[in-house]
Amino acid sequence: MPTFVYMTRCDGCGHCVDICPSDIMHIDKVTRRAYNIEPNMCWECFSCVKACPHHAIDVRGYADFAPLGHSVRVHRDEEKGVIAWRIKFRNGEKDMDLLAPITTKPWGKHIPQLRDAAAPSQEMRNSQLLFNEPKYIRLDEGGLHTLESNGLKFKAGVYY
C-alpha cells in the first residue's frame, strides 16, 4: 500500500491530507474517508500515521519485498513530549515496546521571537557573526574562528 486506512476508524478529518509530504493522502469522494492515492510514492515516513487522531492509518510493508503479517504502530504525544512504538514480528517471536523523548521543553515556548530581539548594531552587520554569536559557539569570550585566529595562513592557489 504502504499506508492504508481502516474504514471503521477514519472520520475524514483530513489531518493526514494536510501533513503528507508526498501529497498522496487524499479523501475519497464517495466514502469521504482518506486513502493513499499513490503507494509507489510513499516513503513510509509515518507522518500521516502520527498525525491521525483516531489511529486509523497503518502501514503494510512494500509488496515487492515485505511479506504480510507484521505491524509497526506509533503514538506521538506532543504534550508529554514522547513517542511510543510497538513492533510485532510476523512470526510472533518478537514484540517490542519502545519509548523516546521528542522534546525536553514545552512545545515551541523556548524559541524566541527575533522581531523583538535587540536590533543588530552596524558592527554586527559588518562582521561575520550570526544571531547570538559568538556566545553560542564558545563558552569563553573568544570571537568567531578565522583562519588567522586558528593560526593558519591563507593558501590561495596551493595545489596538492
Binding site: 501529497d23 510513499c42 525536553t104 515551541g108 524566541p112 586558528n150
Partner: protein
C-alpha cells in the same frame, strides 16, 4: 484554465522550500531584517517536509569547539579527503565555524541531545556526529521558521523563478501553483533563497512497483533546487559528484550509528573481511594521496566513502555477496539493541517495518547490506549544486562576488543541497547555510542592490500558461482514446519518470550497469534526454496532483541533463564507487584537480562547461 491568480507583492526575502536550509534562512532573516517582509513558499507542509520529515537520530555535523573537540579547519581537511580533494574550502570553513551555534540553539529550543556523562560534552557517534532523539527535528525547526516569517504558504509547488525585466540576470521572485486549490501564485521579491532540496528518483531505484517509493533520499526530493536555478541560468558545480550509499538492504536504513556507535562491521558471504583486499589495486587508480594502503594505519586518515563503496561493489561483482552487517555481537547488549532499533524509528521507519515483516532479528541474524541507486544532492557526502560566492574574509577572488551563498544570478541565494562544493554539511550545516544566506540577502537589499526591479505582466502571463499546459494538453487529447493511459499524443508523469530513470540508469552509470559509463554512452544519453525534453512539452496531467508530478519531473529532467553534461566533461574517474568512466578509469590530478562549472543558456538550452581552480586554503596538517 480558470484558476485564480494570487499575487504577494513587496517581499524582501522569499524562501523557496523550507527544509533544513529554508527554515534556517527564514529564522535568521528576521534578525537581520526585522522590518523586512519574509515569505515562505513550500511544496508540502513545513511541519513535515523535506529530507528530515521522519526525523533524524544523529546530527552529522558538529564541531564541538566549545568542548575543545574540533576546529573548522579539521572539518575542511576531513571533507576534502572524503571528496577526493574536490570541495569549496571557503564555504566549508565558513559553515563549520558557525554550525555549533545552530546546534546549541536547537538544544535550547528543546531538542533532546544525548550527553556523554563523563565529559559533559554531547554523546558522539563518531568524530563529527552527535546523537539525538530527533523524531521532532523538523517540526521544531519549522516552529522557529513560522515564528520568523510574515507568512507561510504551504502546498505551493514553485515551478520557475521570476526574472527582473529591467536588468538582465537578476532575480525578481518566483511563481508556482497551489497543489490543493490549483491557484496560480506570484511572489514578487527582492531576493530569493532557494532551499528546495536535492534529487532522488533520477536514477532507476532498486525497488520496483509498489516499493518504488522506498529510496534512501525522500521520493519528494525532486531536484527542484537545481531545476529552478538551472532554468534561471545560474552556474552549477560538481553535478557529476552524485552519491551512492551503502545501506541496509531494501529498507535503506542508515548505517552510521551501526558502524560508529554500535561498532558493527561488514563481511562477505564467507564471513571474511573484504575491504582491505580491494585497496592496493584501488590505490594505483586513485594515487597514494587519497588512499595510502601502507601508511593508513599510521595516518589514521578515514577512507573516503566512495572508495569503501568501490570495495563493496567489487566484492559483490566477484560473486562473494551478500555483504552482511555483523550485528549479532553488538545486539547481545540490550542497551545497544535498543539504540539499533531507535535509530530506524527516528529516521527510516521502513527499515523497522521490513525487519518485522521478514522476521529479521539482528540479535540472531546478520542483516544484508546493499549499495543504493545514485542520488544528486549537495549536503551529504557529496557536493552537487550552484556555484556560489563565499564570505569576504575567506574567499579567493574567483570564489567571491560580494554576497555569501549568492549564486551567479544576482539576488538569488542557495542553502543546503542547493549549494555546490559543500559536502558534509548535513542537517545542521544546511540550516547554518540558510542562516548565512539570509544575512547576506538582507545586506544585499540594504546595499540598494535590489532597486528598480520590474516584473512585466507579460512574464507573469507567460509562466501561467506554461504551468497549466499539461492539464490543457490532457483535456484536448484525452477523448481521442476510449480509456486507459496509452495515448499517442501524450505521456503521463509516471511514464515520463520511468523513462528518465531508465535512461539515466543505463547511460549515466546507475545500478544495473554497476555504476559504469563512458563518453559514447553519455552522448547517447544526452541525445535521448533532448528528445525527452520535447516529449515533456506534451506531458499530460489529469488533475492538480498530476500537475505537481509533472513539474517535479521537469525539474528532475533539468537536473539529469546537468549531471550528464558534467559527467561527460570530467574525463576521469574521480570518485570510484560513486561512478566510473570506463574510458578514463584513473583519477587524473594533472588535468582534473579542478572544480567543474556549467551554465545552461536559458534561451537556447545550450550548455557551456568550464574548469574552476580548486583552491586549498587550509594547509595539509598544520
Amino acid at each position: 484554465m480558470a484558476y485564480k491568480t494570487v499575487v504577494e507583492d513587496n517581499i524582501d526575502v522569499l524562501v523557496v522550500g523550507a527544509g533544513l536550509g529554508g527554515t534556517g534562512a527564514a529564522w535568521e532573516a528576521r534578525y537581520w531584517g526585522q522590518d523586512k517582509k519574509i515569505i515562505i513558499a513550500e511544496k508540502a507542509n513545513i511541519d513535515r517536509s523535506g529530507a528530515v520529515a521522519q526525523g533524524l537520530y544523529a546530527i552529522n555535523c558538529y564541531m564541538g569547539t566549545r568542548f575543545g573537540e574540533n576546529n573548522p579547519e579539521d572539518h575542511v581537511r576531513y571533507a576534502r579527503m572524503d571528496l577526493m580533494g574536490m570541495v569549496r574550502e571557503d564555504l566549508l570553513f565558513d559553515m563549520a565555524r558557525h554550525v555549533d551555534s545552530a546546534v546549541h540553539q536547537f538544544e535550547e529550543w528543546g531538542m533532546p541531545i544525548m550527553r556523554n556523562p563523563k565529559t559533559g560534552s554531547y554523546l558522539r557517534e563518531g568524530r563529527w556526529q552527535i546523537m539525538i532523539h530527533g523524531e521532532s527535528y523538523k517540526p521544531l525547526v519549522a516552529e522557529a521558521a513560522k515564528k520568523s516569517a510574515d507568512k507561510v504558504y504551504n502546498r505551493i509547488c514553485v515551478t520557475h523563478l521570476l526574472m527582473d525585466d529591467s536588468k538582465a540576470n537578476r532575480v525578481a521572485g518566483a511563481v508556482g501553483f497551489n497543489v490543493r486549490t490549483g491557484d496560480y501564485h506570484v511572489f514578487k521579491s527582492k531576493t530569493v533563497i532557494v532551499g528546495a532540496g536535492g534529487a532522488s528518483n533520477i536514477f532507476k531505484p532498486r525497488s520496483v512497483g509498489e516499493g518504488a517509493g522506498r529510496v534512501w533520499y525522500a521520493p519528494w526530493s525532486s531536484g527542484s533546487a537545481y531545476g529552478l536555478m538551472i532554468q534561471a541560468g545560474a552556474k552549477m558545480t560538481q553535478m557529476e559528484n552524485r552519491i551512492v550509499l551503502a545501506r541496509f538492504k531494501d529498507g535503506y536504513g542508515p548505517v552510521g550509528a551501526y558502524f560508529l556507535h554500535l561498532k558493527t562491521y561488514t563481511q562477505n558471504c564467507n564471513g571474511e573481511e573484504y575491504e582491505s583486499k580491494w585497496f592496493p589495486a584501488l590505490s594505483e587508480m586513485v594515487g597514494k594521496a587519497y588512499l595510502d594502503t601502507e601508511g593508513q594505519h599510521l595516518s589514521h586518515k578515514p577512507i573516503p566513502t566512495c572508495l569503501r563503496n568501490h570495495a563493496f561493489i567489487n566484492e559483490v561483482n566477484a560473486g562473494r555477496g551478500p555483504i552482511h552487517m555483523v550485528t549479532m555481537e553488538a545486539f547481545q547488549d540490550p542497551h545497544l539493541e535498543e539504540i539499533g532499533w531507535h535509530n530506524f524509528l527516528g529516521m527510516t521507519v521502513g527499515q523497522a517495518v521490513l525487519w518485522a515483516a521478514t522476521d529479521v532479528n539482528p540479535k540472531f541474524e546478520n542483516p544484508e547490506l546493499t549499495t543504493s541507486e545514485p542520488y544528486v544532492m549537495g549536503s551529504h557526502a557529496t557536493g552537487c549544486g550552484a556555484w556560489c560566492s563565499g564570505p569576504e574574509d575567506l574567499s579567493p577572488p574567483e570564489y567571491y562576488w560580494g554576497y555569501n551563498r549568492m549564486t551567479t544570478v544576482e539576488g538569488l541565494f542557495g542553502a543546503g543541497d542547493a549549494v555546490g562544493g559543500t559536502p558534509h554539511a548535513f542537517s545542521s550545516g544546511s540550516f547554518t547555510e540558510g542562516r548565512l544566506a539570509a544575512k547576506a540577502a538582507c545586506k544585499y537589499i540594504d546595499d540598494g542592490k535590489a532597486a528598480g526591479i520590474r516584473v512585466s505582466d507579460e512574464q507573469i502571463a507567460r509562466r501561467k500558461q506554461e504551468i497549466y499546459k499539461p492539464m490543457e494538453h490532457y483535456k484536448v487529447y484525452r477523448n481521442e482514446i476510449t480509456a486507459g493511459s496509452v495515448n499517442p499524443n501524450y505521456i503521463n508523469p509516471r511514464q515520463g519518470l520511468d523513462r528518465l530513470q531508465k535512461l539515466m540508469d543505463e547511460y549515466c552509470a546507475g545500478v544495473t550497469v554497476s555504476y559504469m559509463t563512458n563518453e559514447k554512452l553519455l552522448h547517447i544519453g544526452l541525445k535521448k534526454l533532448k528528445i525527452m525534453e520535447e516529449d515533456l512539452e506534451k506531458v499530460a496531467a489529469e488533475d492538480i496532483h498530476e500537475l505537481l508530478r509533472a513539474w517535479e519531473l521537469k525539474h528532475r529532467h533539468l537536473t539529469s541533463e546537468s549531471v550528464m553534461q558534467h559527467t561527460l566533461f570530467r574525463k576521469e574517474t574521480r570518485w570510484p564507487g560513486y561512478y566510473y568512466r570506463g574510458d578514463a578509469m584513473k583519477l587524473d590530478d594533472e588535468n582534473w584537480h579542478v572544480l567543474t562549472v556549467s551554465r545552461r543558456d536559458p534561451q537556447t538550452g545550450e550548455y557551456t562547461m568550464e574548469k574552476a581552480p580548486c583552491y586549498h586554503i587550509v594547509g595539509k596538517d598544520d
